[in-house]
Amino acid sequence: MTIDTPPISAATQRRGTSTPATRVIGVLTIAMTIWLGVFGLVLSPADRDQGDAVRIMYVHVPSVWLAYLAFIVTALASGVHLFGRRHSLQADRVAGASAEIGVVFMAVTLVTGMLWGRITWGVYWQWDARLTTTALLFISYIGYLAVRGLEGTREQRARRSAIVGLLAVLEVPLVHWSVKLWRSLHQEATVLGTDLDVSLDGLMLFSLFVGVVAFTLLFIWLLLHRSRMLTMIDLSAESGLNAALAQRRAEGGVSL
């Protein structure tokens, strides 16, 4: 048996995981992100209560939106893998890629949220239901990524991850509910005052809207690139194994 090396064109090498569609989305994302920077930092006014701290919201809210969107996509793709008749590995890769993106943006969200909290509340952290749930969710998805990295056959790993991806969805309402009930029993929660909900109007709302659109496009772009990347990682792991097996057989090292 010979191992045929596939012909690789220079164009393919240059292209990698991008296609005309991702290039269009990429350019749109960059344009929208610059627009977001201009609106958020320059054009939008300072808030009456929060002052300039409100500007952090224009990157914080879109990144938390992106992170939750990514986790929803992970759960949906996990469901498609687990309950779909074909147990599609592509769905599993989409789930994995989406969770990786979600974890990155969850980390960004937590840090920018803390910076905002330091200015507005005077403290980096408050044991608020939303904050606490988000932090625990972040840890849970780090666990999910660790589960994806566990050993096993490709199908085993995909099924395990899909179940963990779906269990994480059960976790969210229960954690949120319990933390909310816990904090409602404490007086000091209300003393700190300022709620996360702020009334935004006009340019502020528009800046936020720009941010959400930009980050949604960014999510699509990242998801396409990363799931293609994971497809290739699977393929090269497979072909690496096949090549190794073929080599061993050629050497006569394995008697089957």
Binding site: S18, G37, G51, D52, I56, V59, I101, V104, W116, I119
Partner: protein
């Protein structure tokens, strides 16, 4: 702008993370893509 350090820091962190993450994704994609033939890439 008051608290400029915190605000600009937030923007730098967010956009910096995006750029690093995106750049690494594209880079790994290109490296892997060099070893695989075109028929293994259904998106092409």
């Amino acid at each position: 702008m008051t608290n400029a350090g915190f605000i600009l820091g937030s923007y730098a962190l967010t956009f910096g993370s995006i750029v690093i993450f995106a750049w690494r994704t594209v880079k790994v994609g290109k490296r892997l893509s060099a070893d695989l033939s075109d028929e293994d890439k259904p998106w092409l």
